[in-house]
Each structure stands twice: as structure tokens, then as C-alpha cells.
Symmetry: C2
Subunit: 338 residues, 2 copies
Amino acid sequence: MDDRKLEVLRAIVEDYVATQEPVGSKAVSQRHALGVSAATVRNDMAYLEEAGYIQQPHTSAGRIPTAKGYRLFVDRLGKIKPLSAAERRAVHRFLSEAIDLDDVVTRTVRLLAQLTHQVAVVQYPSLNRSSVRHLELVSLTPTRLMLVMITDTGRVEQRYVEVPAELTEDDVLDLRRLVNEQLQGKALADAPRIIAGLAGLARPELRATASALARVLLESVVARTEERVAVAGAANLTRNGNFFAGSLRPILEALEEEVVLMQLLGRADSNALLTVRIGDENEVADFREATVVTAGYGPGSVVGHMGVLGPTRMDYPGTIAAVRAVARYVSEILEQNR
Amino acid sequence: MDDRKLEVLRAIVEDYVATQEPVGSKAVSQRHALGVSAATVRNDMAYLEEAGYIQQPHTSAGRIPTAKGYRLFVDRLGKIKPLSAAERRAVHRFLSEAIDLDDVVTRTVRLLAQLTHQVAVVQYPSLNRSSVRHLELVSLTPTRLMLVMITDTGRVEQRYVEVPAELTEDDVLDLRRLVNEQLQGKALADAPRIIAGLAGLARPELRATASALARVLLESVVARTEERVAVAGAANLTRNGNFFAGSLRPILEALEEEVVLMQLLGRADSNALLTVRIGDENEVADFREATVVTAGYGPGSVVGHMGVLGPTRMDYPGTIAAVRAVARYVSEILEQNR
DNA sequence: CACTGGCACTCCTGGACAGGGAGTGCCAAA
DNA sequence: TTTGGCACTCCCTGTCCAGGAGTGCCAGTG
């Protein structure tokens, strides 16, 4: 494949992204300094179409890139355009004002939506890869406890525990000491094993209570694990004239399904720094017309993913840069809070 | 105003809500057993239009209700149609499976969206009207604490506290005892006053630390107070053919602005059990074409509001019934968790 | 051999226009 | 007060036509 043909493809992608209209040979030869005439561009375009990189919505219309064309653009042509210094400062400032972990996630998702003008999705740090920092037991009534678990990513989970017998202050202290001794510093992935043996270690008269506690602990470790996601920027779906072929309906519905969102982000179990899934490359049926750009984040190892969802005709260099930059800053912040 | 005229208005509202098309005199006289001819209905319609209850999109079209018409319908004509027994059971079951307060809110908002086929908004229980049940201090590093506040509505707030001096275990115990002694059981509304005096009560060598702690406490009591809202069912905006005149854009944007949502729900500072704001009655400009049905909820006193947002041409009896029923169940659940 | 200008062809788009239909307002009669 | 009749208005749909943009192909040129 010719160098010039690649340039023609780039021109088509860039113009189409900018104008949202099929781009013709004349426009390409004029607006991009290729040094050849429109007729030559036409020949190249015929080749590119034959090869499946571009297509015509109908005869006598200009060309638009196919998913395969965008893929080539992303892989070989798109230089990532870094954020401006001002943008970087703004990102940094905004994120460093966060008051707790939830706030970091909330701010991140808004920031991504705003920077990219697209729908942003951020996964809350997965519990799986974090470890227990502290467990707190608070007695509410004699037969009711509140269990609060704090992880090293700063996440807090709380649960009510109904216990079978009345507890004294000392009982609660005992239990608190026990669970902390056993679980503090342990990875959540290992927790279920440890929790299973918990009841056996308690004083005989506290066995029943300890096993009720163990049951709830297990739930809160296992059940809610990496379920939560934050979404922002749904309004951006209406930019550029409702880009999704049909209605917004299925997209808006999918955006409220946590399971779907997890698929969207999560399949990137790869540790790749950044993933771009274009059109058909998406496994989620509703997003076959969309592009998803995701990145992992976390202090050292990856504890979650974030990304944006937009039309295949998106500004790839800009979007990729934004996602990458934000993921890095968030990772830094988590690192500091370690 | 004639009884029959009211019946005509009801017929117009019901048919328009059902079909989404202007309704003509013939349809009214045929489908609703009024026992009069179309010509008579036409006379009544002329009157209703004169009085501002209905209007014509253009000459030679049927009539559609105005906001004033809906208002009359709601006030005088709409018998609320209660949920079916099956629905009530489903609501109860779904809500009682919630595992903590956040989960109650999440489930509630989804439930409302599903029951009403509209956009649902639920305010997290306001901190203002709740009181402190327990404060927990966990030392993370010698100069860093985590503060966890548990309120009697079951809400948990966490914050990091950077302290100026290194703390021993005993120091932390001391501080924990102090803040709990002072704040436990106190209403959050009274908390700022108490917090102000906190530093003065600490041992001299802990003064600086106590005042850092007080500062953070104050923030977490005041700042985040009743800021959070949950939204669900945005996809329902696309039902019935994009009901909002213009694009969905401003609506979707408004739904991501917590401030706007609070206005939407909050203005109902009235303790009215249920509020219906139709069209212009809404103070938020973006929702002038919409109807908002809200209800307060809480154990005994109102601690938050919930509601749905939909087109003025909504199924009022059904929607009102659903909002009322859900608000009641949620209140019951909070009551139990007291 | 690659590039270029010219030309006929295709197909979308928007405006103009007419016919059909639904609904109204008014009037005279019961 | 109600009713049937009738003329009128206006929207909606489909058709037609001209204009425009873009293409493919071909023959000519360096």
C-alpha cells in the first residue's frame, strides 16, 4: 500500500470526523496538500474502497471510512495529540481536590466526559485486587452490629449484621480484635478462605455470633466486588446529530445496566495500557456502531478501568490522549493515598 | 362549568395521553359514552378552549390539553388508580432485599423508573435531619487518620484527616472517645456548634490534632449535606417519540446536574405528601414542558424526596399512585432500620 | 507507467404542487 | 339546548422536477 494512499485515508478520516459528511475527491485534493489532482485521488479511493477501508453511502456520494479504515488510522496514522499544558493543569487541579475515593471516581468520570465530549464510564476500584486495611465493628443495639470495612484503595463498605445473642461491649471488642488480627493486610482475593475459618477461632460462647459475622463478611467481600461503575456525559450522545443509526433508546438503556458496562470496560482483562475497540470489535451488541476507548488505572497494578464511548467517527488522537492522561493522573492520586 | 364539560375534558386528556394525538369531537362522542353528538361536544370544546383548558395545535386539528387543563384533571377528575396486589408485592419484595442504605436508594430509583416508565430521581436521605450514631477513627499512618461517621439513617461518610503531629494508639483512643462523647446522638443540624468547641476539650498536647479533626468533621457534616441524588430511567425519555419539543440534550444535561435535580425535588420543602408540578409550574427552565411528581419519604419525619419526571401528557393516576406507594414502602423500611 | 482533465452518469436533496382527509365553526332546524 | 349539514382550513403524503455533488472511465501527456 502506497504512502499516498495512506495519506488519502488519513485525509478522509480527518475530514469526515470534522464535518460528519462523506468526503469527495475534490475536497481531499484541495484541503490536504497532497500535490496531486482530484482524479488521482479518485483512483486511490477506488483502491481503498476495494480493500475495504472506505465505503460509499450510495453512488455519487463521497466516501466514509469503514471500521477497518478507522482501525488502520488508529494503528498506523494517528499521532496522539497530547493535552495542552493548561488542560493538564486543570485535570490535575480538579482531581486533586477530591475528598475521598468516591469523589475521585465521580470527578474522573465528569472530567473524561467533558474533555472528550463523549460518554464516560469509570469503574470503581475493584475490591479483588485490594486488601483489607481495617475492620470496624460498631454495636447499634445489643443484637445488631454495623460492620465497616476499609480497604487500602480507600474504599469503605458497610453492612448490618444481625447476631443471634446479646453482646456486651467486651464481646464486640473481642470480635473486632479477632477479625482484624485475621484479615488486616490480607488481599481480598484470599479473604474467603480466611473467613471460613473465623468462627472456629472465637471463644466458644461467641461462635454463633462469629459465624453470623463471617457470613456477612463473605457477602461484602464477594458479592459487591467490582460491581459499581459511574457514568457521565450521556447528554453527549445527542451531539453531532444523534450519531447512532436508530434511536438513542438501546444505548441509554445499556448505560444503566451495570453488567453491560462492566463488559464494556472489563473485557480489557488484558493489561494493555490502552485499548481501542472500534465498531464490530465490540462484543456488546448495542455498541456495534460505537468506539470504546479504555485504559486501566491503579497504583502499580491495575485496580479498575475507565473509558469513553462515542461514535466510530470520533476524534481518535484527542480522545486517546485524554483517556490516557486521566488514567495516569488517577493512578498517581491512588498511589499517593496508599 | 358543566359536568359534561368536565367529562369532555377528561375524555380529551385520557385519549391524548393514550394516543399522543390531538383528539377530535367525533372521537370523544363515540369512544366515551357521553350520550351526545359530536356537534355538542364541539360546542363544549369551544368553551373549554376559550377557558384555556385545551388548545388546537393548528386550525382543523383536534384538541390537546394545556397545562391548565392537566391541572384541572389532576385536581378534580383523576381518581388515583392503586397498584395491583401483584405490583405491591413485587415492590415490597424488591425493596426488602436491599442490603444497605445506598442499596435501598438504588433499588428505589430503578423501581420507580420501571413502574412509571419515566425518569426517576431519588434524593439520598438528607444528613440535616439525621443524627450521629457513631464516629470511628482509624489510624492509617502516624500522621493520617480515617474518620468514619455513621448516622442513624444508616448513612456512612468517610474522610481522610491529615494531622500535624504523630499520634500513638492511646491518642487515637482518646480522640475517638472525645468526639463520640460530644456528638453521639446529636442532630447533625446542631453538630457545627458542638464541633466548634471540640478542640478546647482535648488534652493540651492534642489540641492541634483535635482542631484538624474538627475542621474535617465540619466539612463532612456541612459540605456533603443532602447533595446526592440517584437517577434512573433516562432511556424512558425516548419513549413515545421524544416527547420534549426540542432535543433531548438539555434534559440529559440537566439530569446530570445535581443542583438542578435538587431544585426539582427540593422545592417541595412543603411537607405535602405528594406534589405534582405541571409544565410552567416547574421552576427549572429546562423542565417547563414536563411534569414532575414528587413525594417526601422518611421514618416519621421527611428525610428526603423522590419523584419522577415525564411529559405533561403522562398517565397521572398511575404515576401518582406509583410514587405514593413507593415512598410509603421506603419510609417503612427506614422505620424498621431505625 | 502514473497522472490529469474532461465528460457522461447516478443519485440525493429540496422546493413546488396537488389531492385526500380530518376536524372545525357556524347555521338553521328540532 | 341539541343536532345534522356544510363550507372551509390546514396538515400530510406522494410525485415531479431541477440542481448539485461526486463518481467512473477514457483518452491524452510527460
